[in-house]
């Protein structure tokens, strides 16, 4: 596989000397998807850095405090944008799928895996 992306190309990736730091699983998922799509050649790391930087700049323009708390939120928005712009998915598909996961999660008792087909099978999962 290709070398790891040049993380230094990014503006303020929250890292320490040993690598990126994630606070919640979704941050790591968003990070990992980005790296994998990059490795597969769907975009260059420079393109990605531009998308991410644009989101961070937009947030700054909105007056949001630029803290580590919100960093991966910008990352996720940038990932959605670049995936859409590159034709990997569409905004409509993302929106529909998000609603589907929401219904599935709410129909899932705590402790059971959240499955998209739970809705189709009925909320009791039987």
């Amino acid at each position: 596989m290709s070398a790891l992306p040049d993380l230094d190309a990014l503006p303020v990736l929250p890292t320490d000397k040993e690598g990126p730091v994630f606070k919640e699983p979704w941050e790591a998922q968003a990070f990992a998807m980005t790296v994998k799509l990059y490795e597969a050649g769907h975009f260059t790391w420079k393109e990605w850095a531009d998308y991410l930087a644009a989101e961070i700049a937009a947030a700054r323009d909105r007056g949001e405090p630029d803290t580590g708390e919100t960093y991966y939120t910008y990352w996720l928005t940038a990932l959605e944008r670049i995936a859409t712009d590159k034709g990997l998915t569409t905004a409509a598909d993302l929106s529909d799928r998000k609603d589907a996961w929401d219904r599935a999660a709410k129909a899932t008792p705590h402790g059971e895996p959240i499955l998209l087909d739970r809705i189709a099978r009925g909320a009791d999962g039987a």
């Binding site: 990992a32 995936a83 008792p109 402790g111």
Partner: protein, 202 residues
């Protein structure tokens, strides 16, 4: 067995929903592979969490006052070392003794003490562990190579979004005089979940 039931549903935050939507769509198109994502994450996050927890444990092993505070009020004592949760969840520290062994499970992957252990390992999120840890804790531990004497009581603790558990493993024999830093190297992630013991000094 488990401390309590929690019956709330599994609502995901708007951000989590966006990530799941993206991941599931990309997976269906063969653009990403969830297993490969997990491997990548493990690679990146190895240092993130467990070392924090190891420092907490090593401090407790070397400082009786700290240990007392840790067992009385886990959240505050852990925060003393600079590790705090983002969601206000309470941390409870469970002490292993020669007669009691604690094992932590959660039926959802979100219930994990991130500030001290980082991201949960894949097996912790997997259905087999989540279901079997409660039903057959000794069998699960045996699969991790951990076999306890029959007279050791096994307690299984079910985490929730509001309450996270950290196991304080027993300090290994033969570690008298070791520095806190050296002791922390003996503390594995699994020993703080309860699927392992602290390492023996080399």
């Amino acid at each position: 067995m488990t401390g309590h039931d929690h019956q709330h549903d599994s609502s995901l935050s708007p951000t989590e929903l966006r990530v799941k939507a993206l991941e599931s769509l990309l997976t269906e198109k063969g653009l990403v592979d969830p297993a490969a994502l997990d491997i990548l994450i493990e690679t990146y996050e190895n240092k993130v969490g467990p070392r924090n927890g190891a420092r907490v444990v090593a401090r407790a092993w070397t400082d009786p006052d700290y240990k007392k505070r840790l067992l009385e009020d886990g959240s505050s004592a852990i925060a003393e070392l600079g590790y705090t949760g983002r969601q206000g969840e309470d941390m409870v520290v469970l002490e292993n003794t020669p007669s009691v062994h604690n094992l932590v499970v959660c039926t959802l992957c979100s219930c994990y003490p991130w500030p001290v252990l980082g991201l949960p390992p894949v097996w912790y999120k997997a259905a087999p562990y989540r279901s079997r840890a409660v039903i057959d804790p000794r069998g699960v531990m045996a699969e991790f190579g951990l076999v306890l004497d029959d007279d050791v009581e096994v307690r299984v603790w079910d985490s929730t979004a509001e309450l996270r558990y950290l196991v304080l493993p027993e300090r290994p024999a033969g570690t008298d005089g070791m520095s806190e830093e050296a002791l922390a190297e003996l503390v594995t992630r699994d020993s703080m979940i309860g699927t392992g013991l602290a390492l023996q000094p080399k």
